[in-house]
């Protein structure tokens, strides 16, 4: 079923466009106001969330839970609506409601600043200055909403498939243009995009079930779903509530397997082929255990391979790995089982689950931007590990592309991004660490010995009367302080790394 999401600015004419388009295409029309009304009926304190999102300092643990509840509710509500037929949704940041679903046509409606001011003056019956202030405030609130709820800026044109300016274009002609665009194959549902939506829907319904039950409603669970496999992660302090995950979610249709993982943080591991027997797997698990982190796997197939398959299927939209033909909703168990094991993902997830470190996993194919879309940018990742990708390339090309991918991810994800080959040297205690710790310890001991055996002359130097002596004392402190902090800091860091308590 097709979905058209129209992101509209205040007084930009987006509402008329959405209603006109829905009427022309005979689609359902859903506004943000309808969605909010439904969320309020659900018992979500939307007003409080809005205020808190505009002023981030207000965010309490309770409101953070309400936000989770709200996101889960809106996702599930939209997915359920789509089951009834194709849909036009219009409202603030509509294009972000179903992340990664490629058949969503994302439209941004803008209008000239002067046009908007005039519309605001007319509608609110205020003077020009007040109308301008009002629009500036609303735009700022909208920007903060997008940033705090979805971790992105709502103003970037690159987030939309099409941006429409209603200054010159009439609403009727814009409706006609969008009607044509919506018929393009790029915006039709594919088995892959349907699966992404099913995953989102299942994850949202599980989260919603947890939020609705009083035994689990006050706990900040994170839920990921992939082809019926659901992973719920929770913080160590919430382990009491975690015992109710199974009974609370038992009634949610579509769950084939449920994993609950206790984790204080998340570690994202991107690779093309996973092997649970490999050294890199053991290193990732060791680090995850040390940090009490859940490991989320992303099996990433690079762009070229996908481009080939896309050409063959005449579907230019990014697809999930190993795309299959549309089956009319009838799933083949055998095929799915084989597909799930591609690249060792299922096997590795199983092993991670056994070790209590599974944070779920999924497959992505396409370019860097498709990979980024598949990553939950609101999730608190502590580390992103990029393993072997671009396996079909030569060693030199693979190294360069890998470096470029890491650099791209570093620019967009707020967590350190490292190559799998650097894990051992950076995060695990090695012989090299032991040697450098000994060196730093020796140097620290020498400095402390010299200072504490020459206290009187040293302190006399620091209380000199002459301006030159005073200046030298100041420079001495300025230079010594970072040296001591650096040397001893590294000793302390190595010691804690050794006892796995960084």
């Amino acid at each position: 079923m097709q979905i058209i999401c129209i992101s509209r600015g205040t007084m930009s004419g987006g509402k008329q466009l959405a209603e006109g388009l829905a009427k022309k295409l005979l689609y359902q029309c859903l506004s943000r106001e309808d969605l909010i009304e439904a969320a309020i009926r659900e018992g979500i304190q939307v007003g409080k969330i809005e205020t808190a999102l505009m002023k981030p300092g207000l965010f309490t643990e309770r409101l953070a839970l309400e936000r989770e509840h709200y996101i889960a509710f809106t996702t599930a509500y939209l997915c359920d609506k789509v089951k009834d037929g194709p849909l036009v949704y219009h409202g603030r940041t509509g294009h972000l409601l179903l992340p990664g679903v490629n058949h969503v046509l994302r439209v941004r409606v803008v209008a000239d600043w002067d046009y908007r001011i005039k519309a605001a003056m007319k509608q609110l019956n205020v003077d020009r200055v007040k109308a301008q202030r009002y629009l500036e405030a609303v735009d700022e609130d909208r920007r903060r909403w997008a940033h705090n709820l979805y971790g992105v800026s709502g103003d970037e044109a690159g987030q939309y498939d099409i941006v429409i300016n209603l200054e010159q274009l009439s609403v009727d002609n814009a409706v006609a243009a969008l009607t044509t665009i919506s018929q393009l194959p790029d915006f039709q549902m594919t088995p892959a995009s349907r699966r992404v939506m099913d995953n989102l829907n299942l994850g949202a319904r599980v989260r919603l079930a947890l939020a609705r039950d009083e035994r689990t409603g006050r706990t900040g669970f994170k839920v990921r779903a992939d082809n019926g496999g659901v992973t719920v992660t929770y913080l160590p302090q919430d382990s009491k509530a975690a015992q109710f995950i199974q009974p609370v979610t038992a009634g949610v249709a579509g769950i084939k397997e449920l994993q609950a993982t206790m984790a204080a943080t998340n570690l994202l591991w991107i690779q093309e082929e996973f092997k649970p027997q490999s050294d890199s797997f053991h290193q990732v698990v060791e680090i995850a255990t040390k940090w009490n982190a859940a490991v989320e796997l992303v099996r990433f197939e690079s762009g070229d391979a996908v481009a080939d398959s896309a050409e063959k299927s005449a579907d230019p939209a990014p697809v999930e790995a190993a795309p299959r033909a549309y089956d009319g909703g009838i799933e083949d168990d055998v095929e799915e089982a084989a597909e799930g094991k591609a690249g060792g993902l299922a096997e590795t997830l199983e092993e991670l689950a056994r070790l209590g470190r599974s944070g779920g996993g999924h497959q992505v194919a396409g370019g860097h931007e498709h990979l980024l879309k598949a990553v939950d940018r609101t999730a608190p990742y502590t580390l992103v590990v990029v393993g072997d990708v671009f396996l079909d390339k030569s060693h030199a090309v693979r190294t360069r592309l890998n470096r470029e991918l890491r650099s791209y991810l570093s620019d967009h994800i707020r967590a350190p991004v490292v190559g799998v080959e650097d894990l051992k040297s950076q995060y695990l205690f090695t012989k090299k660490d032991a040697l450098s710790a000994l060196l730093y310890l020796g140097l620290t001991a020498i400095i402390y010995y010299l200072v504490f055996t020459h206290q009187e002359p040293l302190l006399n130097f620091f209380v000199g009367e002459e301006w030159k002596t005073k200046l030298m004392a100041a420079v001495g402190v300025f230079v010594c302080t970072p040296i001591v902090a650096f040397l001893y800091g590294n000793v302390a860091k190595s010691f804690l790394k050794l006892i796995k308590m960084e």
């Binding site: 409080k48 808190a52 002023k55 981030p56 300092g57 207000l58 965010f59 309490t60 643990e61 309770r62 409101l63 700022e140 903060r144 940033h147 800026s153 160590p236 302090q237 206790m262 204080a264 943080t265 255990t289 009490n292 056994r354 070790l355 209590g356 707020r414 967590a415 350190p416 400095i447 402390y448 200072v451 504490f452 206290q455 009187e456 040293l458 302190l459 006399n460 620091f462 209380v463 005073k470 200046l471 004392a473 100041a474 001495g476 402190v477 300025f478 010594c480 302080t481 970072p482 001591v484 902090a485 650096f486 001893y488 800091g489 302390a492 860091k493 010691f495 804690l496 308590m501 960084e502």
Partner: protein, 365 residues
Amino acid sequence: MIDYIIPNFIVLDLGSALQVVLLGFIGGVLSGFIGSGGAFFMTPGMMNLGISGVVAVGSNISHKFGKAMMGSKKHGELGNVDKRLGAFLILTSFAGIRLAVWINSMLFSGGGGGSHGEGGGDAASNLYISLVFVCILSLVAISMLRDALKSGDENGSGPSMKIANFLANIHLPPYVHFPVADVRVSLWVLMLVGLATGYLAGTIGVGGFIGVPAMIYVFGVPTAVAAGTELYLAMFMGAFGALNYAYQGYVDIRLMMLLYLGSLVGIYIGTYGTKVVKEVVIRIVTGSIILLCVVSRGVAIPIYLRQLHLISYDPAWDNYFNLGSKIMLFAAGISGCLLILVNVVKAYRQRRQIQSQIFQAPAEA
């Protein structure tokens, strides 16, 4: 009676040296747990050991310089530092530090030519530092406890935003945009916050208690970026404060080094603690510890008032006041620290237990 090796600096025997290391450790644990510099505990603790307030502040701010340098590097790697915001705050914070150093130096060198004890500038400076400490940290502790208790309440809506809303609603151009923190702030509000942060960092070494809440509540900066940027700012403020206090001869490099011995280990343990303790508990523990530190400093104030001849009582009572203040401070620090350590050890053991169960299961099967 305190022995001085040379003017400004006390004799350090093994016992007092170990006490400074302990102060550093507790301060480090609290600092990692709370996310501030820990000076609210270390400065009064050093004063209780007989170290002049101005030397305690000077040594502490130098210690803060190195510690913040190590911390901000890590935050920088995580993308939590808005250097542009830091740069704007640094400029005015330097003015605040200069003001603080000037007041402290004037008080210390005046009224007795910097002598120690009866009627001297030492007492005037100690009194001034203690009063600023008590006033500012009482406000911080009370609002923190009130917010923590409110957020535990079903209908609690979080911290009071009256002042923040008032400042945010004043239209004061020009505005500056900060891309990493993704906020737009009035230049005048920025300057005011920078000045206050610098003044408090220079006077009692706790600029972060003003800087971080201001960045979060007034500027709207995300919490992680506020903490990272504050640490970045603290590095420059620490460097500038260290240069200023060292030029005046008020930095005891021995104390700074002893503080490092404890604090750089403690800070990691404290940070680990935040991952295993609920947010509301963190706020209650933090507020209670700060409040006890305030009361402890308050108990020492009569000593300075008597030394300045503003009140009179038998000088023998000074020892009791000092001892009471010291016991209260250490009790607050140690109990807070123990609470954090117990949770850390519990979580650490729980982790090991789960691991061993996981690894045993297939072997038994």
